[in-house]
């Protein structure tokens, strides 16, 4: 059977789409069963008709709609709504779509502050007014997809691992829901935990952790948090390593920063991490800042401009 698929990128970087391409030869298999009807990255279907004379965004009918990126401006909302109308199942692909992603760091600032800086850098010729002619107005904050439309399947990750994208597509072709990891990064991390930490503070990642000889396997390295490095593994959903399971960043000898979003979809990575640190006797006042703990999941009102 053939499944009709529509796909688009909203407030995104195209990393999710590249992750789809990174399925490699499996992509050719997908193309045998998926018929794409809208896919700006690779094909030329247009919002306003192929002659560009339409007045409203039109998305062809599809069984599955895949949207990456969060919502940053009014046009993203219109595209998302058109997708909801035309597609039976909506997949939120990637952490921007599920939790807002890195662009939600902007939510700590007002749109005015963002534009003030962008249009007044040392190299910019000061404009009379900020650009707006024919441009979609910015929303008040960067949002996850489900703040405006109903979402059926959440596929977090920055980017989602190609194994999971593939598994999800196969499941949909077979008419069932995909099964995705629901543990924490720590639950799937092979590093060695001794559990008898005397830590009073966690440090910034400014020097290499101890891991023995260069080729030493990961299970010989002590847990990065126990070595005193800030690591978001305890409060982050597993999956970045795909079917190979092993967390990607930790296997590069680099601590996790939380790119799969919270373990429970409605969790708060910053609050959960601060709680975890405090309950282990770590003085959280020694952290340089904590907004970065929400760098992947600041939508749903979690990051807001500071009151002045």
């Amino acid at each position: 059977m053939t499944v009709k698929v529509a796909s688009d990128w909203l407030n995104s970087c195209s990393g999710c789409e590249i992750s789809i391409v990174d399925m490699g030869e499996r992509l050719l298999d997908v193309l045998k069963v998926a018929q794409f009807v809208h896919l700006p990255a690779l094909m030329d279907h247009k919002y306003f008709g192929q002659r560009g004379t339409g007045k409203h965004i039109e998305i062809p009918e599809a069984d599955v709609g895949i949207l990456s990126g969060g919502l940053r401006n009014q046009e993203h909302v219109e595209v998302a709504e058109a997708f909801r109308k035309s597609c039976k199942i909506i997949i939120a692909l990637g952490t921007c779509a599920t939790h807002g992603g890195i662009p939600t760091l902007a939510n700590s600032f007002s749109n005015e502050e963002i534009k003030q800086r962008y249009y007044a850098t040392e190299t910019t010729d000061a404009p009379g007014a900020f650009p707006s002619e024919g441009l979609p107005p910015l929303l008040d904050s960067v949002m996850a997809l489900d703040e405006k439309i109903a979402v059926d399947i959440y596929l977090p990750g920055c980017p989602p691992h190609p194994d999971h994208v593939f598994a999800a597509l196969v499941a949909l072709v077979e008419g069932r829901s995909p099964v995705l990891p629901d543990k924490s990064v720590c639950d799937t991390c092979p590093t060695r935990r001794e559990g008898k930490g005397q830590l009073k503070s966690v440090q910034r990642f400014l020097k290499a952790p101890e891991y023995g000889a260069p080729g030493e396997p990961l299970d010989k390295m002590r847990c990065l948090l126990e070595q005193g490095y800030m690591c978001m593994g305890p409060v982050t959903r597993a999956g970045c390593g795909g079917d190979g399971i092993v967390p990607r960043c930790v296997s590069a000898r680099v601590p996790c920063r939380g790119c799969y979003g919270p373990v429970r979809p409605e969790g708060n990575q910053r609050l959960d991490m601060l709680n975890a640190l405090a309950s282990n006797g770590i003085d959280i006042a020694t952290l340089p800042e904590s907004i970065s703990m929400l760098r992947f999941s600041g939508a749903h009102g979690l990051l807001r401009p500071a009151h002045k």
């Binding site: 995104s12 970087c13 195209s14 990393g15 992750s19 391409v21 990174d22 490699g24 030869e25 050719l28 193309l31 794409f36 700006p40 690779l42 094909m43 030329d44 279907h45 247009k46 919002y47 306003f48 192929q50 002659r51 560009g52 004379t53 940053r72 401006n73 662009p103 760091l105 902007a106 600032f109 963002i114 962008y118 850098t121 040392e122 190299t123 910019t124 010729d125 650009p131 002619e133 024919g134 441009l135 920055c158 980017p159 910034r204 990642f205 400014l206 020097k207 290499a208 260069p214 080729g215 970045c240 960043c249 590069a252 000898r253 680099v254 920063r257 340089p288 800042e289 907004i291 970065s292």
Partner: protein, 449 residues
């Protein structure tokens, strides 16, 4: 009656843009422009973040060239903290960046651009894409997918995360390269070089000759160029000084850290994206097709135009052949595709050179650093052009101030001009169809990525 045509989204490009064309009463082009629709505000929202974290944040500016942002950012943070990366750390960064270039050019040529040439610019949109190519030529498609995947998985396997990498760190690189990994990468890189040589040959014999007329006309404008060169004047993707060349071939070289003395950014009311231009030419900014002011171009064609030579032998031979046909600087917009394939050969050759460097497996990959107040400018050549990250840190090593000039933006003015030129040339007396609109988009696609 006047009519408005909106080509949106521009497809088979990496990013969010639209083309608006207004026709006058007689059906000729009154105005044609490109709008860049995205505004995310990275300059603002990295303020207050620990500088060493920023290379893992700004990578999200682009999921296609995350290595470029990751490394330009790491170089800027090195500058802020006053640290020089260890030689092996620096070489591993360049190795990753160079392989990422090699992978990206295959992706662009075959997945995004080729359909216009192999399937045809006016073919039905349902087949004018990589899926159509896969159906028409399954053997070539399989070969392309496999080779591109080989390059991508080399990055993935060694660095562990290649879409939004984390292995570049302030002071160098997070992990050393083992000898057995080096051998495996060298073997694969040789295979990718072979495919790069096949590709440029395939394009020179089977693709470009059919489109000579289009190359001479479509989207053609006359501008200056920007790129990075090494101390010998050869093209370099990772490091060196910047060169801005005028359309007449004369040029000015400068250190990347002094970019603000040379480059300005113009703002248009109809585009969130800003338009960099050569402010130091002191002629202002204008996208007038006959008499542009301050306009230079970035990306492949620009880099091979400003370079005196290529640093590797096969790429140098290709450059000589190219120059004998099109001169220096070459201006025809579709030649970006040709230049991209020359750069592909260079990237493969350069990666092999680095992998043969005995220092590449030195385990000393990361220099000691202390956070402090400072300023650093990090510059690399991203696929779409010269990429500049400029940070200032406070005494705690948090970002106080940031300015970014992203590769894509250098070409916003030129793309606007090429769209305008293509629309005016192709749309006459109200005659416009899907094939014509796609050809106007081809003028944008050439610049991407």
């Amino acid at each position: 009656m006047s009519q408005t045509i909106t080509i949106q989204p521009i497809t088979r490009i990496e990013g969010h843009a639209s083309i608006g064309i207004t026709l006058d009463d007689s059906g000729n082009v009154a105005d044609a422009r490109l709008s860049y629709m995205s505004l995310r505000g990275f300059e603002k929202f990295i303020e207050g973040k620990p500088a060493e974290e920023v290379p893992r944040i700004v990578s999200r500016i682009c999921g296609i060239c995350p290595w470029m942002h990751h490394l330009a950012s790491n170089k800027a943070v090195d500058g802020c903290f006053g640290v020089t990366p260890t030689p092996a750390g620096s070489k591993l960064r360049e190795l990753m960046q160079t392989i990422a270039h090699a992978e990206d050019k295959l992706l662009h040529f075959f997945f995004l651009a080729a359909a216009d040439f192999v399937i045809g610019p006016t073919a039905d949109y349902a087949v004018r894409n990589v899926i159509g190519i896969a159906q028409a030529n399954p053997e070539l498609a399989t070969q392309v997918v496999k080779t591109r995947q080989m390059a991508k998985m080399m990055l993935d396997k060694f660095s562990r995360k290649t879409i939004h990498p984390v292995a570049g760190v302030v002071g160098g690189f997070a992990k050393p390269l083992l000898e057995e990994e080096r051998k495996e990468m060298l073997d694969k890189m040789q295979q990718i070089l072979d495919f790069a040589l096949f590709t440029i040959d395939f394009a020179k014999k089977g693709v470009f000759p059919q489109y000579l007329e289009a190359i001479q006309t479509l989207g053609v404008i006359k501008t200056g160029f920007i790129g990075t060169i090494d101390a010998q004047g050869a093209l370099n993707l990772y490091d060196g000084k910047l060169r801005i060349m005028k359309a007449d071939g004369s040029y000015t070289d400068f250190a990347a850290k002094d970019y603000a003395n040379y480059i300005g950014e113009h703002v248009e009311p109809y585009s969130y994206g800003k338009y960099p231009y050569a402010r130091f030419w002191n002629e202002g900014f204008s996208m007038d097709l006959e008499q542009p002011k301050g306009i230079y171009r970035a990306n492949t064609l620009a880099r091979i135009n400003v370079a005196d030579k290529m640093a590797t032998p096969r790429a140098q031979a290709e450059l000589e052949e190219f120059r004998s046909l099109f001169g220096r600087p070459a201006q025809a917009t579709l030649l970006y595709h040709y230049a991209r394939l020359i750069e592909e050969v260079y990237a493969c050759e350069r990666a092999i050179e680095i992998l043969k460097d005995p220092e590449i497996t030195d385990p000393n990959v990361r220099a000691k650093v202390e956070p402090k107040a400072g300023r650093g400018v990090g510059c690399v050549e991203a696929p779409r052009g010269t990429l500049i990250h400029d940070y200032t840190t406070d005494s705690n090593g948090l970002i106080a101030h940031a300015n970014l000039i992203v590769g894509t933006t250098h070409n916003l003015g030129p793309m606007n001009m090429s769209v305008n030129q293509a629309a005016r040339t192709l749309i006459k007396d109200g005659h416009v169809d899907e094939g014509i609109l796609n050809q106007i988009e081809m003028a944008v696609r050439a610049y991407d990525p």
